[in-house]
């Protein structure tokens, strides 16, 4: 129901010099009225006609023809106060958001202008058609004391009609990270697709500790924020289900993340990919110039006939399950060629085999920490994604080429699984900050950029949605931001506003953008004909720097200490001496690392014996290239091994 009395704030004026059109009109506002400003929503009512508009420009003037006249009138004394004051009028220009009834489309009539209330806000932004069904609160439109919820349409935010969200603004003031967190919380609360669909978030943390404490409450809970949460019907809490992932450091013992405080490390899963995971992405991990048609053919052969198969080389059987096996396989192939003095092996030339061997075996060194040399593999829970869960992948500290691989493989897995419908959820939001670094408008083509472009162009049909942020929108690949149906702007830089992308905004709107305070945003969304200003509450989430203070990262642990602490986390009774003994008995440290990671992953009831079994069984195995194997290496532990678990 509409409130009976809307507050009248002005009256439409149309002059020959500045006529009303169907898309814009001017009005003057009552003297001394502070309720109207840039971004204010108003409605013009005449009989049954309602014209909704948003103020985009304001002018204040008097009948003074020239500054000179005022100067002369005051006899050059700025302190002089005239007994009679000139009239001062405030005229505003408003852009039309909507007209009811829609036909015929006519210039806005001269009629009273009223301030918007909740109902008017809802109609003006065409939210009446969707807010109950698919509304996602994005913030509150504020007008004096009035706070009206503003909703985005999930069908245009998360697909299938349109999708993606992009946010721009200067660092530290635009509240980009905070607003994305807030919108995700809002989506988790309000997205109501059919129950079995499910929605999850994959967050790439690319900057320090930015998104590493999403499951901890923030320190400041302010009353005004609480009120906003109530109005938006969003619980004022952090994320409930967050899982963290990070590659190892090069020691493959310590994780490459800042979330290493002993209380928190338990919730960080290593990201450690094996041979099988990587072979699909050879084009990403290998230099294009290296992979000619011949190399391609050999890689394809390895993928099809060698990996996860038992094949015979030089009269010996070999099963290749990981990089170590593969290196071994190459050695055997080369040996066979050398012994038989042939330059070709199954149509592959000796030089090609050497080259591919070299490039592939280099990968586990080049992507040390991310690519596993042995059978230990650890990954996102493909197939078991949970509804309303956040999967944070910390790539803040890995080098660009590893970032490229992480993004590309994860997104491609998401896409394949969403296509087949076996991810566990039907909608995934991928969050990427610093888009101008990862998808710059100029600069070289990377797989990462291609991946982001791909989500933005095809993702919405699959339920794969990109939420991205950057300081300078003008520096991001045009098609990525162009495909983003919802765009948000926080405090902006004046230089950025001067770039051509912002020409559609009036200068008053630009001025406002350049001075927005924290928590204020400008939103563009397909249902809104014009940008709308809203404010949102601070997310009740621990900010990265606070998290680091509360949970300082642990120092890197030496291997033996790491084994002891990690096993102890599984079972408090692990003795230090026992660990020392096992470590001392192992052939080399990589064997310990492998055994530790496998034990941690399997979480057996008796970790120390599991660990011992893992090490013992493999102790003494030589897997360095060139060594003479005298047995059939089956490095993956037998799944039916009675000693396991």
């Amino acid at each position: 129901m509409e409130q009976k009395y809307l507050i009248q704030v002005g009256r439409v004026v149309a002059t020959e010099a500045k006529p009303s059109t169907a898309y814009s009109f001017s009005f003057w506002a009552a003297e001394g009225d502070s309720k109207v400003g840039i971004g204010t929503l108003v409605v013009v009512k005449k009989d049954d006609l309602k014209v909704y508009g948003v103020v985009v420009e304001g002018f204040g003037f008097t009948d003074l023809g020239s500054a000179m006249h005022d100067y002369i009138g005051s006899e050059g004394d700025p302190g002089s106060e005239a007994p009679t004051l000139r009239h001062e009028v405030r005229c505003y220009t408003a852009a039309v958001l909507r007209v009811e009834p829609e036909e015929p489309l006519q210039p806005v009539p001269v009629a009273p202008v009223y301030l918007a209330d909740d109902m008017v806000v809802r109609n003006a932004l065409r939210m009446d058609s969707f807010w109950e069904k698919s509304g996602i609160p994005i913030g509150l439109y504020q007008n004096g004391d009035l706070l009206s919820p503003v909703y985005l349409d999930s069908e245009f935010l998360l697909g299938p009609e349109a999708a993606h969200l992009n946010i721009t603004g200067v660092s530290g003031l635009a509240t980009k990270t905070s607003s994305i967190e807030f919108i995700l919380l809002s989506i988790f609360e309000h997205f109501n697709e059919r129950d079995d669909d499910g929605i999850a978030v994959v967050c790439f943390n690319v900057k320090g500790p930015d998104m590493l404490f999403l499951d901890f409450p923030g320190s400041t809970v302010d009353e005004r924020d609480a009120e906003m949460y109530d109005l938006l019907r969003i619980p004022n809490t952090p994320f409930k289900n967050v899982k963290y992932f990070a590659p190892f450091k090069s020691d493959r013992v310590n994780l490459n993340t800042l979330r290493t405080h002993p209380d928190l490390i338990g919730n960080v899963t290593p990201l450690s990919w094996g041979l099988i995971d990587i072979l699909e992405f050879t084009e990403v991990v290998l230099n294009r110039d290296d992979v000619d048609a011949k190399a391609d053919a050999l890689i394809a052969y390895i993928k099809d006939r060698v990996v996860n198969e038992t094949s015979e080389v030089n009269g010996q059987q070999i099963t290749v399950r990981n990089f170590q096996d593969m290196n071994h396989w190459f050695d055997m192939v080369l040996k066979e060629m050398e012994q038989s003095n042939r330059s070709e092996w199954k149509t592959h030339h000796y030089a090609t085999i050497r080259k591919v061997y070299n490039r592939l075996s280099n990968l586990s060194t080049r992507y040390q920490g991310l690519i596993s040399p042995d059978e230990f593999r650890s990954d996102l829970p493909w197939g078991d994604f949970e509804d309303r869960a956040v999967y944070v992948v910390d790539v803040a500290n890995v080098d660009p080429q590893a970032q490229d691989l992480v993004f590309t493989r994860i997104v491609s897995q998401l896409r394949q699984r969403l296509e087949k419908g076996d991810l566990g959820v039907k909608h995934v939001i991928v969050v990427v900050d610093e888009l101008n670094k990862y998808a710059p408008s100029d600069g070289q083509e990377t797989y990462l950029k291609q991946t982001l472009l791909d989500i933005s162009e095809r993702g919405r049909y699959l339920g794969l949605v990109l939420f991205s942020a950057q300081q300078f929108r003008s520096q991001v690949h045009k098609r990525i931001v162009g495909n983003s149906a919802t765009c948000i702007y926080g405090r902006m830089d004046m230089d950025e506003l001067a770039t051509p992308g912002y020409q559609v905004l009036t200068s008053a709107t630009k001025e406002k953008l350049a001075t927005l305070s924290k928590g204020q945003l400008m939103v563009r969304h397909p249902h809104f004909n014009q940008p709308i200003f809203v404010k949102f509450p601070r997310p009740n989430i621990m900010r990265g720097p606070d998290g680091i203070k509360a949970y300082p990262p642990a120092n890197d642990l030496p291997l033996e200490e790491a084994v002891w602490q990690n096993l102890n986390r599984l079972d408090g009774g692990v003795s230090r001496n026992e660990v020392s003994d096992i470590v001392a008995s192992a052939a080399d440290s990589s064997e310990i690392v492998r055994a530790m990671n496998i034990t941690l992953q399997r979480r057996p009831d008796d970790p120390i014996s599991h660990f011992r079994n893992c090490v013992r069984k493999k102790a003494g195995v030589q897997t360095t290239p060139g060594s003479k194997p005298s047995f059939i290496p089956v490095l993956d532990p037998d799944p039916s091994d009675p000693f396991q678990d």
Binding site: H69, S74, R86, H87
Partner: protein, 184 residues
């Protein structure tokens, strides 16, 4: 011819209205220590009051009240100077006191620049208050009534009032269409 007569008629009607409003104002507000500023000569029944709170400001100087020598003194008034008080003759109405006042310096301008003639009731109080009333008017020089051509003499409150009246008057376009309607 016809236009001339129409103009005369309009100005007669306006004078009548002014007279009536002045009289009404005096009867309603006289006691409240408020003053009425009249654009032009005094009219209405001001003479019926002992000391009516009414001042007229005349911007045009068609009538010359003094002979050459005295007139020279008046035309040579400097800014913020006023003439002595006199009783203008030749009008068919009750006597008033009057004086000339130079609102703005006219150096390098014509002799009438910034010159107004003030009228007030013919009473003892006017003689006492002539300086004070002159100061009131001087204070109203700011803001300037630009872009009105008579800004040197047109004080802003009068300009403001004219602006208001103009905004409520029908435009030429609507008058024209009314007239055409009448003739047809």
């Amino acid at each position: 011819m016809l236009v001339e007569r129409a103009k005369n008629k309009i100005s007669d009607v306006r004078a009548d209205i002014e007279r009536e409003i002045t009289s009404r104002w005096l009867s309603d507000f006289q006691s409240r220590n408020e003053w009425l500023l009249v654009d032009g000569s005094l009219s209405g029944d001001y003479h019926k009051y002992d000391s009516p709170n009414i001042v007229g400001v005349i911007k045009s100087h068609q009538t010359q009240y003094f002979l050459w020598e005295d007139q020279q003194k008046i035309l040579n008034l400097k800014a913020r100077e006023r003439s002595g008080i006199f009783i203008p003759k030749g009008r068919n109405r009750p006597d008033v006191y009057s004086w000339y006042l130079r609102l703005r310096p006219n150096d390098g301008r014509d002799v009438y620049f910034g010159l107004v003639r003030v009228e007030a009731a013919k009473c003892r109080r006017t003689l006492d208050m002539a300086d004070e009333i002159s100061r009131w008017l001087l204070a109203e020089r700011s803001p300037l009534s630009m872009p009105d051509a008579r800004w040197d003499r047109l004080i802003y409150p009068i300009h403001d009032c004219e602006l208001y009246l103009k905004s409520t008057a029908p435009s030429h376009t609507s008058l024209d269409s009314l007239m055409t309607g009448l003739i047809a």
